[in-house]
Amino acid sequence: MGNILVFAEIQKGSLPKSSLITIQAGKEAASKLGGDVLVAVLGSDIEAATQEAAGYGTAKVLAVSDAALEHYLADSYAAVLEQLVQANQVTMLVATSTAIGKDLLPRVAARLGVGMASDVVEFNEDGTLQRPMYAGNTVATVALDDDIKVVSVRSTAFDAAQPGDRSAVEQTSVSLDADATKLQFVSFNETQSDRPNLTEASIVVSGGRGLKSGENFTTYLEPLVDELGAAMGASRAAVDAGFVPNDLQVGQTGKVVAPDLYIAVGISGAIQHLAGMKDSKVIVAVNKDPDAPIFNVADYGLVADLFKAVPELTEAVKKAKA
């Protein structure tokens, strides 16, 4: 087995939790399949992130600092990763299925002419991989038949890496061909929120179509969200109805979360939604329909009118904290 290259995203100059999860996934792959873990950090001003990445006991950190890499862009980043894979005896490339990981990894795989497995939840000893398919209705055992395997991992299936011995840091330069510099960054419009990140929060409160309007999210759900210090999520039905933006969507085609506590309010529990939250440690459902499928996965189900129950719950949380 050759080396396992882990792509660590940088956000605002440092490593987000998703990158620590990627490092941990790389370590687990190495413990089962052999090989050293190398961490790739790419960007234009990455000294601090490189030092941070070197603190998790991996064999090496490969730092690629270049003005052309200031913003993440699929074409240039894919070209760099391809070169790192080729130059470092890499037999497995791992990233987490974040927006960037999903955008980037297939492009690297195709540049290498190899297949890819998305959203892997487990590395098996025999080299096969486990991944969900059909909105989580099935778990598939899949095999990648190439010498270089490209794998994205689901963030909820791995813990964040714990700090370890310092890694060696190697500064690497790469060349970017014309095909790798066609995309231009124009702007980033960041969602303004004081709440925790949906995929990292320990408590998530999600609303569904039962809330009936975007205003009701503000009036009923948000006080509970903030009282709990939670992140806010939504079902696809609520997004489709225009109540809240799509980046709050939890489910098959949105974000996958697994917090300590997940509270589903006015969500019926379509399989596509369950695919994004059923691994949460404790699930609470508030719904007036006692037959709603969400109750089949909920640890605690409150059969009630949410417009009465949610304000009561908010008050009760406030009292419990006091």
């Binding site: 862009l73 059909y134 598939a140 038949d145 095909d179 506590l261 609470v284 640890d299 009630a304």
Partner: protein, 251 residues
Amino acid sequence: MKVLVAVKRVPDPETTIRVKSDGSGIETDNIKYVINPFDEIALEEALRIKEKLGSGEVILVSIGVKAVSEQLRTGLAMGADRAISVGCDQELDSLGVARILAKIVEQESPEIVLLGKQAIDDDANQAGQMLAALLGWPQATFASEVELSDDQQSVKVTREVDGGLETVGFALPGIITSDLRLNEPRYASLPGIMKARKKEIKEIAAADLGVDITPRLTVQMLEPPTKKEGGKKVETVAELMTLLHDEAKVI
């Protein structure tokens, strides 16, 4: 402006998926098939581009069993001009799909290729990005807004990414994959359905394209997920709080 749209035949998202008892696949009896919902959004965007410009051509392509012609016919009824059906009976992985599509792109020379961000059956989310790499084209995945420049030479695409919306730009040709909020696809009208009957579906065989489509990713076994038992039902907020505090210890 020539726009190529790739569509996949997938089980209707409302269908309950069951794994065969021997784990070799899913039960396909009584499954209704539809155009992958994200591909329908991609097609709608292509139609809107053509309608806005007042000229152009929207070409559909699908790969798979003969029955994909049903989905192509639906797409033609929505307004696509013609379709290509690439016959292929073997299982394909995303790389194989991308290699076939790259050949079709070579033959058709579209300025834009639109695809759904992911198919809701294998949930891979790979084909568009792989196609872009094979062609050496720029890619904008997870699009929520597509803005063509006045001279039709370039495009700005707003993308749904973690923590906000990112806008990227590139000179055409390029690849765009659709996210949920890009648009709301139209229904085929009755006149559209009538017209679609006369539109061309060109049939070609994947084997004749001269590309290696041997799957690199193979599914060895499918299992149903571990079932979670439903828990306790309560009727009052007070009961719920007691359980969350004393039993689950999460509040």
